[in-house]
Amino acid sequence: MTTTVAHVHEETDAPYALSHLDALESEAVHIFREVAGEFEKPVILFSGGKDSIVMLHLALKAFAPAPVPFALLHVDTGHNFPEVLEYRDRTVARHGLRLHVASVQDYIDAGKLRERPDGTRNPLQTVPLTEAIQQLKFDAVFGGGRRDEEKARAKERVFSLRDEFSQWDPRRQRPELWQLYNGRHAPGEHVRVFPLSNWTELDVWQYIAREGIELPEIYFAHEREVFKRNGMWLTAGEWGGPKEGETPETRLIRYRTVGDMSCTGAVDSDAVTLDAVIAEIAVSRLTERGATRADDKMSEAAMEDRKREGYF
């Protein structure tokens, strides 16, 4: 027995259908243009990771043939992968962009931040980030966060209002209705904007493949000296590893995310092409963050707690 009542039922009008990637692209471009139209001084957070690379690519398309009307902001933990910094600088030069760098190392050297006992610098990014936003008077800050990444992120709005301390209060979020984004804010407050909210990791990779976007080499399989800490392969290096009892070895690996070397784990992989990477992710039984981020494992609500403090 079927109980379908169809008062209105149009056949799918094939020429006017949009693929899911086209729909996501169109939505993200709309978000970039809304911000350009409504804010005084937006900035794109750019880490040289795949999500921020896709963000920049979308921004380039959104305003073509004019240049992107935003600067970039990189929070440099001091423990970044050299390949990623090289990619960042090359990209900035190629597109004639302006880059601001907020440096965790500078804060540590000035005694304003203290190194954590575990050597992880990801949580230390929050202070340089929020101070850069205040000092440079950015009123909209684009982040590459996706709601599929983590359960606290699933609650995030596309336009996320932050107070003068950059804090996120999930109970005080504005309802977000239709595609009508409300960017009103008081002086000193700003809005975090997430154009990739509705994208998944696989969408990002498929889009990179479709658009032929270049990525830093660490996303593809390569041999690297790594050692195991808390069940993850970390890159050996001057940042603080391996310690006594941790043995370095050379393995064929790649990265699913790009972040601070102290907490970004590598995965064993022989995927050297985009197609191979996509095939690998399509069958992976681990989430991106579950596989590679130590800082999210600190507690059940680690991401929520960091977001409340001003993390993006």
Binding site: R33, F63, A66, E150, A154, P170, P175, N182, T200
Partner: protein, 452 residues
């Protein structure tokens, strides 16, 4: 070798799949979390580390089985209290389609949460408990789906295992709901008997209900046509941003960037710019850097016109033949979403497409009680979760369509100019309140009586 080729072919198919946005609605104990958990779990969208985290927390709390609600309750306070505070968005995919699920709590602040989830949804799943049938909350969900003009509604009759999988129980509920929702103007209703707990008809067809010949919930989600009525409507192009490179390469380029809200735009088409009323012809359309002859909703494009006329953010470009009228007197149904009330005389901002203008609330002719669909005339103000008819006078003309004709150009926000709070979600056009009936006369409206 063959398998690699197949895999690549499948991946190409995957990139070409369509996107369905849907929302779930259900009361607290209807099993909504279980349904969502079951959909995610049985469509293999829950990855090992997520499931391990759920198992670990469940075990730590002394629960015997993993609590699937933990997959969806993301905030500290939600887990502590075992409730869902706010709309969350979930993502999953099958070989046929990608899904964005707005998981809306059925609790306390039901109306604004469901309005938020339903505003972008192509489909809403309304859950009922087979033992209780259609209750007040079910009617409320149906009314919100109708009000927001969600094109497809699925009635999931849950807990069929607790009524012996009886066809008669399902048929009675399906009939009652379908009659009710059709009267409200819900265009398409599909009823499916399920057990979210046992997994009947959610992803896998049920062996316990041979009498049911329809699709499973997932099958229906995979095959329901994604709303293309946007392209059948007259074209509407709200200007977001003017692109003027002023570079050596593009000294004279002047493009109007925006997302096509409805309809189809073609090169060579005569257009009118509102609210100024100036006319021109589309000289070119750039689809994110690539020139095209034709573009349609919801593509983001850049439009160039033959004549150099004054156009800025907030203007609307429409084909001259089907351009909308402009107005400064907006009659609309609003859902109040803020904690501070909205009173007659309030000075507000109205954000419609890309245009934000000052406005004043002139009248609140009626407030609707969703519980029994009764009308309360002249309530004076609206408070959180109220739905009412308002008359708003705007400082500048707006090119506003009826919400019934376009969810995109018929919707707006009311914003508090003092602190930026989003006060209300507005849907333009004459509505139920135009034939307002007194509260005591709370009979079901006739078929033509509901025109949201």
């Amino acid at each position: 070798m063959t398998s690699t080729t197949d895999q690549v072919a499948n991946l190409a198919d995957l990139a070409a799949t369509t996107l369905l946005r849907f929302a779930t609605a259900g009361s607290v104990d209807d099993g909504k979390s279980t349904l969502v958990g079951r959909l995610l779990h049985d469509s293999k969208s829950v990855l090992t580390d997520q499931m391990e985290a759920v198992e670990a927390v469940s075990a730590q709390r002394g629960q015997e089985a993993p609590d699937l609600a933990l997959l969806t309750d993301g905030l500290r306070a939600e887990r502590e209290q075992g409730i869902t505070i706010d709309v969350a968005y979930r993502y999953f995919a099958t070989a046929r389609r990608r899904f964005i699920l707005a998981d809306t709590p059925g609790h306390v602040q039901y109306t604004r949460n469901m309005v938020t989830g339903a505003s972008t949804a192509d489909l809403a799943v309304v859950l009922v408990d087979a033992r209780n049938g259609v209750i007040e909350q079910t009617r409320r969900h149906a009314a919100v789906a109708a009000l927001l003009r969600v094109p497809h509604v699925v009635l999931a009759v849950n807990k069929m295992d607790l009524v012996g999988y009886q066809e008669s129980v399902f048929a009675a509920i399906a009939e009652e709901f379908t009659a009710y929702a059709s009267d409200l103007g819900v265009p398409e209703i599909t009823a499916i008997p399920i057990s979210a707990l046992a997994g009947d008809n959610v992803v896998e067809p049920s062996a316990n209900m041979d009498w049911y010949g329809g699709p499973t919930v997932l099958e229906h989600l995979e095959t329901v046509p994604v709303s293309h009525d946007l392209t059948a409507c007259p074209a509407r192009f709200p200007v977001q941003y003017v692109i003027r490179p002023q570079s050596a390469e593009h000294p004279d380029y002047r493009g109007y960037a925006g997302q096509i809200a409805s309809g189809v735009l073609r090169v060579g088409e005569p257009v009118t710019v509102l609210p100024s009323g100036r006319t021109s012809v589309i000289e070119g359309i750039d689809a994110l850097g690539e020139p095209v002859d034709i573009a349609w909703a919801p593509q983001s494009v850049t439009v160039r016109l033959k004549d150099d006329i004054d156009i800025s953010r907030g203007d609307l470009i429409a084909p001259s033949a089907t351009a909308p009228a402009t107005t400064q007197d907006v009659v609309a149904t609003v859902c109040h979403v803020a904690d501070q009330p909205l009173a007659v005389g309030a000075r507000v901002l109205i954000k419609h497409t890309t245009r934000t203008v000052k406005a004043i609330v002139k009248e609140i002719p009626s407030r609707l009680t969703l519980d029994d669909l009764s009308q309360h005339p002249e309530p004076g103000q609206l408070v959180a979760n109220d739905i009412g008819l308002v008359v708003v006078r705007t400082a500048e003309p707006l090119a506003l369509d009826a919400y019934a004709d376009s969810r995109r150009t018929g919707s707006f926000l009311l914003i508090d100019p003092a602190d930026g709070t989003t006060l209300a979600a507005g849907m333009a056009g004459e509505s139920f309140a135009s034939q307002a009936k007194p509260a005591e006369d709370a009979v079901r409206p006739d078929e033509d009586g509901w025109d949201f």
